[in-house]
């Protein structure tokens, strides 16, 4: 396992990247390890061989031809520093997107302006407001009050019948429980 570390140090050493401290440690290891010495010798031969690769001699006139090709390309191609210019197709894309947003905004505004006015008495009201209005209409009228109670009790009875939860009672308030008792006992106090 330790040799893996030293193999990497051998590579770093060949590229002049090993610290003095590590180089000294590597030297001590190499004195003891035949395998790493052999590995280092092989790498030295590889390095020498690879370092002998030379540039291919290009045929006469090749570079001139390459230069002419480049000049032709420059003349017929885009201008210097044009890489950041948004191409025409890209600009049209933004134009169409802007037009679409404008049309949508116009249509939305038109719908808002032309929609029919809702009468104030049809506006949605809260539960408290609704109850207060009903109670206000009932006022001192005993018949209406009784009818309202019946409707209320009937709705509670339906709720009770629909309740499958055995802990349903725990969610009711004192008044609701009392009303149910009266309903069950036909108005008699328990």
């Amino acid at each position: 396992m330790a040799c893996r570390k030293y193999e990497r140090w051998i590579s770093d050493d060949m590229d002049g990247r090993l610290s003095d401290k590590r180089r000294a440690a590597l030297r001590r290891h190499l004195e003891e390890c035949e395998g790493c010495r052999s590995y280092k010798e092989n790498l030295k031969i590889l390095q020498a061989e690879a370092g002998k690769f030379r540039e291919v001699a290009v045929r006469a006139g090749f570079m001139d031809a390459l230069g002419r090709r480049l000049e032709e390309g420059l003349r017929s191609g885009p201008a210097a520093g044009s890489a950041k210019t948004i191409p025409l197709a890209g600009r049209w894309k933004w134009v169409w997107a802007g037009a679409a947003v404008f049309v949508l905004a116009l249509a939305g505004g038109t719908i808002l302006l032309l929609r029919p006015k809702t009468p104030p008495d049809l506006w949605p009201v809260s539960y408290e407001e609704s109850l207060a209005r009903v109670l206000g209409e009932i006022g001192e009228d005993a018949d209406l009050a009784e009818s309202f109670d019946q409707v209320l009790q009937a709705s509670i009875g339906e709720t009770l019948l629909q309740a499958e939860n055995p802990t349903f009672w725990e969610g009711l308030g004192e008044d609701e429980i009392r009303l149910m008792e009266l309903d069950i006992t036909n108005g008699r106090e328990i």
Binding site: D15, L70, L74, G81
Partner: protein, 209 residues
Amino acid sequence: MGASNEGSGDHEREAGPDPSERGLVAAARNGSMEAFSTLAGLYQERIYHTILRFTRDPEDAGDLTQETFMAAYRSLRSFRQGAGFYTWIYRIAVNSTMNFLKKKGREKNRTEFRKDVDSISVPGVPPGSPEGESMRNELGRKLEEAVDGLPLPFRSSFILVVHEGMSHADAAGVLGCSENTVSWRMHKARKLLQRKLKPYLDEVRHGVP
């Protein structure tokens, strides 16, 4: 360019752009095609040979050289005036070539790549002897094939450090990775090459059988 211990070679020389280069770059940025053509003429041969090391195909290298300079011309606005023009264009060349090789998927066998193995010193084999020459030729051919067969990240690091003579820091700058990554890739590349060529290397080390 030789072994990597020789330093980063051309890239170190490019650290400080000379005034004439700065003037040409400034003129090119202002739209002077002539100025850019002059710059291209200064560096196109070096760029071509660098690309050729990767592609091993003169036609592909020519196309990629042209593509590199065209891309540089279009992107002149992104070039920072303080940086070296050669370093900048070198980075474009390597990145374009890497992208090309990735797209190509597999790399062609080289058709015109030669090496000079005249002066390699092999223990146990007299330099210039027929046996030594034969072994070195065989090892050289096998090494080229083995380098061609390396995975692209390892191969690119190996070419930049060993063939182009770059330091790990310079190679990391070109490849857009850390020095530590280059160090690890070099280690893995060497290990893979050593494993693949071990019979030949052992033979060379121990002399003619």
